[in-house]
């Protein structure tokens, strides 16, 4: 049972980390609170479902197609829906909620509300310490780690990564260094949604694919971001594993705990907001006058 909990915490933690980091990225760079973030994750899962089970794509190809399609969708909605109203925070919030619901309804029309499942990309399991660990679980975990590692290298060591970090810290000074803020925002949006897409793609075989599957990850992701500190990527990473573990503990230790999953996120969120509103690693954004 302990090993079960560890496996579940690691998988949950790493997927929440991916989601929260993508969410933080676009918030940090462009101050956009993208509520539709996990809806893109849902779209990616459906892409995987459709391309593998209906079109018979090879799983690896399916992942690429899903991530590219979702990133494009993200960029298009950014350009058409979010960019024109970026100055109005409340409008962005409403627009992204509307977008999430619209995506949900589109999936509902295309695929009905039936629960779908996607076969594992790598079938089979290993028995470790008496516990069945599906290769798919390992694959998901490892891909998330690889993507997060690549993300880190990109942000840390490339010119564009530096521009993203600079813009996230101080948009005005980034402008003064010749960084084109709206282009950086576009890039960050692409990466952000791309990360949501990867998460949906590698997680699809482990979850039930249905039009509301973005709700729970959204609550968890927001809780992660609140706990880690809005805008802090490092904070998101730690908080994601803390929350992933908390969720796994509740699910495994408490009878009928699966029904309490949502409560975990909400109670942690409320607790953090009461005790330490800046979160673990709250970033102080340079005050723009």
């Amino acid at each position: 049972m302990i090993f079960d909990i560890v496996i579940t915490s690691l998988i949950k933690g790493s997927t929440y980390a991916m989601l929260a980091i993508g969410f933080s990225l676009i918030f940090g760079v462009a101050r956009i609170v993208n509520i539709a973030h996990t809806a893109f994750y849902m779209v990616a899962a459906y892409c995987i479902f459709y391309t593998t089970t209906q079109l018979g794509f090879n799983p690896i190809l399916a992942i690429f197609v899903a991530v590219i399609l979702v990133s494009l969708l993200g960029l298009i909605t950014f350009k058409l829906l979010i960019a024109p109203i970026r100055e109005h925070e409340a409008a962005v919030l409403i627009a992204t909620i509307a977008l999430a619901i619209a995506l949900q309804e589109v999936m509902m029309i295309l695929f009905t509300g039936d629960y779908r499942s996607v076969p594992p990309l790598v079938p089979g399991f290993a028995t470790i310490m008496g516990v069945k660990v599906f290769y798919q679980q390992l694959l998901t975990f490892v891909s998330v780690l690889v993507v997060l590692g690549l993300m880190y290298l990109f942000l840390q060591y490339t010119r564009l990564g530096l521009a993203i970090r600079a813009t996230a810290q101080d948009r005005e000074v980034a402008n003064l260094m010749g960084m084109n803020e709206s282009q950086v925002a576009m890039l960050a949006m692409g990466i952000s949604v791309g990360l949501a897409g990867v998460t949906g793609a590698v997680l699809a075989p482990l979850s039930i694919v249905e039009p509301h599957m973005w709700n729970h990850p959204l609550a968890m992701m927001l809780a992660v971001v609140v706990l880690g500190g809005l805008g802090s990527i490092k904070g998101s990473l730690y908080a994601a594993f803390i929350l992933g573990t908390a969720e796994a503990l509740v699910v495994f230790m408490i009878p009928a705990g699966a029904y309490l999953k949502g409560a975990v996120a909400l109670s942690i969120m409320v607790f953090v907001l009461l005790v330490r509103p800046a979160g673990l690693f709250g970033v102080q954004f340079e005050e723009e006058r």
Partner: protein
């Protein structure tokens, strides 16, 4: 090189700059001085495009910003250009309060300053030049910039602005909050920068040291240029000296 003509900036209904005109010629070190709240930083922000950027951010919101008048840099009008384009032309602002990227190391800050330099060799060359001018930055290169002292942060901010070969460097209140020794050090570095052939527009409140460095100065008060001239000329005027220059 820089020519501001009848520039007026209003935030909402408050007129922050009221038709100011000033000029900086190539190779000069010109100062813009005046009391707190005179509009010096707003002038710098308009020149570097930040006021325009702010205006775009507030598009359609309350607190509208209006900008009138013209700003020319090397013969090209820049008052409608976005800030990053102005930077690309070689007009760089080292902003008020230094504003290093606090979560980045000194080295990363300097690399961010060289964002526009795509040639690796050139960026490396500029980095060595900045290290030569500010050896302390090389010593501290792997330290987070948020942990530097005020004086070191100012050196970093200036160093960062030098990374992209500026033609005109505008520096907003580099000496504020520093010890007298550090101030003298910063001003010495600014003289060195001028000697490198970079034109400098320096905003300051502390005039005694600045007037020893400059030939021409502008005095700004309540959004208007109220006097212009050499330090000596300006200090001759009793009223100006006591009321606006605080000496």
């Amino acid at each position: 090189m820089l020519e501001i003509n009848d520039l007026t900036v209003c935030y909402d209904k408050a007129m922050i700059l009221n038709g100011i005109s000033l000029r900086v010629d190539e190779g000069e070190l010109v100062s813009l001085v005046g009391p707190n709240g005179a509009g010096k930083s707003t002038t710098m922000r308009a020149v570097s495009g930040l006021v325009q950027w702010e205006k775009a951010q507030h598009r359609g919101n309350e607190g509208d910003i209006t900008i009138k008048g013209t700003i020319e840099f090397m013969g090209h009008p820049i008052h409608r250009k976005p800030a990053h384009k102005i930077a690309e032309m070689g007009l760089i602002l080292c902003p008020e309060r230094r504003r290093p990227f606090k979560e980045m190391t000194v080295f990363e800050n300097l690399r961010a300053g060289a964002y526009m330099i795509k040639d690796k060799k050139e960026a490396e060359h500029n980095l060595q030049n900045v290290y030569k001018l500010f050896p302390i930055l090389q010593e501290r290169s792997h330290q987070l910039s948020g942990t530097l002292s005020g004086g070191e942060q100012q050196m970093l901010a200036i160093g960062r602005s030098l990374m992209c070969n500026p033609k005109l460097l505008c520096i907003d209140e580099p000496s504020t909050g520093l010890s007298p020794i550090m101030r003298a050090e910063v001003f010495r570095k600014i003289m060195e920068i001028k000697a490198m052939g970079i034109t400098v527009l320096l905003v300051e409140q502390e005039v005694s040291m600045v007037f020893k460095m400059t030939q021409r100065n502008y005095v700004l008060s309540s959004g208007k240029i109220i006097a212009e001239g050499s330090g000596e000329e300006l200090l001759k005027d009793e009223v100006l000296r006591k009321t606006y220059l605080g000496m």
